[in-house]
Symmetry: C2
C-alpha cells in the first residue's frame, strides 16, 4: 500500500484559500497553488481586498476567482477544501482565523495547512474534524520513512534536481515550468515536491526540512521511488535551501545524496549579493557548479546541465545580459524560464539528462 | 535558565548497566561510559557472563565492577541509575528487559536510555516513573532548539570539530582522549557530545541526528554556545557521520556549519576500503581534507589541522607505516591517540587551533 504522503489519484480539489489581510503581498503559497495546481481555486478569503477578483489583486495570476470576506461567503462557490494560504505573523493562529477554520470544518470542508504547527494536533480542530468527518491535511507533517537504502540508484528515469544560490530563489517555479514544457513537448515529466507549496500544488510529497535528520536522505529517496513508480520519462525534483546556506544546507545535501540525481539544474536569483539574512557571500556560478559536482562525485556523479536565472524586476536588456554572463561563465545553457518560457532551456538540457542516464527508457531526438 | 539538555552540575551517578547477553561483544555504549565517564559504573547486568568482573570480560576496560544476573542483585552495589547499555536486537524491548527496567524504577533508580524508542513515552514506564518519583532520561530525545542564528561565529574559544572517513571510526574516542590530554597538559578543554554515547559520558548534549532537519544547524550551534558559556580554553566537538556518507552526510554538514568550527580534525579508520554498508568508495586523506575545507570556505573558513588514525588490530609496525603514510600524503600531524597517547597529537594541533582563532583568551606557547 502506498504511504499516506504518496501520490494517489483522487478527485480534484476546489479550494477556498484563507489569507486574511495578506493575499496581495504575503501569500506565496496561495499564489503558487493558483498558478500551478491542477486543483481549482474557487475563492480567496481576505476582507482587505474583498469584492475584487484574483487577477485584479495580483495581475500575474490568471484567475477570475472572487475575493470574499468569509468562509460563509466562500461556501457559495462550493469549495471542497479550505487551504491556509499564508502563515500568521508571530506564528500563533489569531482567533478570527480559528473561527473561520472551524466554520469550514462545520461545513464539511477538508482543511489543508502548511503551517509549522500541526492543525491536526490541535484538540479543538481535531475534535471538530472528527465530529464532521473531515480530513485535516497538515502538509508539513513528517511521515515515518525508512533510512536511505540505495534503491534510488536503480531508478529507470533520469533524475534532475534543482540546486540554488540561496533559499527562495525560484527552484520550485523553475521545475514546475520545465515539467510543463516537457509535457507540452510530448514527454512525461514528473514533478517531485519536497516543500510545503510544492506538496499543495502536486497533491503529494514530503517536506524534507521537517524530517528527522537521520531520515532526510531516506525521505528524499522515497520521493524519487514514488515518482519512478509512475514510469515517467523524466523525474524533476524541486530543490531546497542552498549547499552553502549556514542554516539550511543539510536539507540541500539530503536531497543531493538521497535523490541520487543524474544531473543538477542551478537556479540563481541574479539580484542576491549575499545569503538571505546571514551575510554569507554569494558564490559565483562556476564555483556553485564545482562544489555541487565535487560533492556528488564522492557518492554518485551528477553534473550541472544548465542554469535557470531568476531575473525578476530587471529590464529586458539587463536580463539578457545576465543570461549571457551566466552562459559565458559556465559554458552551460542558461535562461529565465518565467520571462522567456521553459521550452528552450528544456530542449537544451533534456538530451544531456538522457545521456547521463544510460538506462533511460526513452531516447530524445 | 539552561535548557533541559544542557550541562548542569549534579551529583555523579552510580550506574548499573543493563546489557543482557551482550556486554562482551555488543555494548559499545556501555564500554564508552565505563571508559570515559566521570560517573561510576558499579555493576553490569548480563547473566551470560555473571560472576566475572568487567576487566575479566573486556580486558581493555580498567574496572573491577562485578557482572551480575539481575537488577535485584545490582542493588547491593547502591546504584543511582540504570543505564540501558545496548540496543535489543530487532528494536523491540524483550519482556525480561521490561521487567528489569520496572524493577529498577520500583527501587527508585533513574533510568537512562539511548534507545530509538523513548522509554518516557511508554505508558507502563511513564506510570511507574511517576509512581516512584523517578526520572527517565531518554538521551536521544530531540529538544526544542531555535534555528541557527550565527551566534556561534562569536564564540571566544577555538572550536575543533572531528570529521571522519566513515561512521563509527572513533571520532568520539579521539575527542575524549584529546580533551583528557589537554587537561593533563593544563588547558581547560570542553568536550561537546553530539550523539547518544557521548551524551551519556558527558551528562549533557543533543543527539543531532534526531533533530528535525531544519533545526540541526541550530542544535549544533546551541551545543557550542553551551560549552562556550563555561569559558573553556578549547571546545572539542564530537563529530557524526561522514561528509560523503550517502545516508548520514546531512548530519555531518549540520555540525560543519552549525558549530562554526575554527579547525577540523580528520579521524580515519585505516581498515575501511568502502563506506559502511553502501559500497561508496573511501576518499583519500588529501581529498577528505580538500572537500571539508572547500565547504567550510563557503561559510566560515576552517582548516584540517591534524589526522587521528584508528589503527586498531594492526601490528605496531603496520600502524606506524599507516601513520607515516597519512603524514606524507597531507603534511599534517598524524597519530593514533589510543595506541600512542593523545599528548603528542594535542601538542601538535593546539597552537594551530589558537592561531586560527585570534580572539582566543589564552595563548599557547
Amino acid at each position: 500500500m502506498a504511504p499516506a504522503w504518496a501520490y494517489a489519484r483522487r478527485p480534484l480539489r476546489r479550494y477556498a484559500i484563507l489569507a486574511p489581510g495578506q493575499f496581495a503581498e504575503n501569500a506565496k503559497t496561495a499564489h503558487g497553488v493558483i498558478r500551478y495546481s491542477n486543483d481549482e481555486t474557487v475563492a480567496i478569503i481576505d476582507p482587505s481586498c474583498a469584492g475584487q477578483t484574483v487577477r485584479e489583486v495580483v495581475p500575474y495570476l490568471d484567475s477570475s476567482a472572487p475575493v470574499v470576506t468569509s468562509v460563509a461567503e466562500a461556501l457559495q462557490r462550493k469549495p471542497t477544501s479550505l487551504l491556509i494560504g499564508t502563515a500568521p505573523k508571530g506564528g500563533k493562529l489569531p482567533p478570527d482565523w480559528r473561527a473561520e477554520i472551524l466554520a469550514a470544518t462545520g461545513a464539511g470542508l477538508e482543511i489543508v495547512s502548511g503551517l509549522h504547527d500541526m492543525l491536526g494536533d490541535d484538540p479543538e480542530f481535531a475534535a471538530a474534524a472528527r465530529q464532521h468527518n473531515v480530513t485535516i491535511w497538515d502538509v508539513r507533517k513528517p511521515p515515518d520513512v525508512p533510512l536511505f537504502s540505495g534503491s534510488a540508484y536503480d531508478v529507470k528515469a533520469p533524475v534532475l534536481l534543482a540546486v540554488g544560490n540561496d533559499c527562495a530563489v525560484g527552484k520550485m517555479t523553475v521545475m514546475l515550468e520545465l515539467a510543463r514544457a516537457a509535457r507540452e513537448l510530448g514527454s512525461n515529466a514528473e514533478f517531485v515536491p519536497t516543500g510545503q507549496t510544492g506538496i499543495m500544488i502536486a497533491g503529494w510529497g514530503i517536506a524534507v526540512d521537517r524530517v528527522i535528520s537521520d531520515f532526510a536522505t531516506g525521505a528524499s529517496e522515497q520521493l524519487v521511488l514514488q515518482a519512478a513508480a509512475r514510469n515517467p520519462d523524466y523525474i524533476l525534483v524541486e530543490g531546497q535551501g542552498a549547499i552553502n546556506h549556514p542554516a539550511y544546507a543539510p536539507v540541500t545535501l539530503a536531497l543531493l545524496f538521497g535523490c541520487a540525481p543524474d544531473a543538477l539544474l542551478l537556479v540563481a536569483d541574479v539580484r542576491r549579493s549575499s545569503m538571505e539574512t546571514y551575510g554569507t557571500p554569494m558564490l559565483s556560478y562556476a564555483r556553485l557548479v564545482d562544489i555541487h559536482e565535487e560533492l556528488c562525485a564522492t557518492v554518485k556523479p551528477a553534473g550541472v546541465v544548465g542554469i535557470a536565472l531568476n531575473t525578476f524586476g530587471l529590464e529586458q536588456t539587463a536580463a539578457a545580459e545576465e543570461i549571457a554572463r551566466a552562459r559565458a561563465e559556465t559554458s552551460l545553457p542558461a535562461d529565465d524560464v518565467v520571462r522567456n518560457g521553459a521550452a528552450r532551456l528544456w530542449t537544451a538540457i533534456a538530451p544531456k539528462l538522457v545521456k547521463r542516464h544510460p538506462l533511460s527508457a526513452k531516447a530524445v531526438a
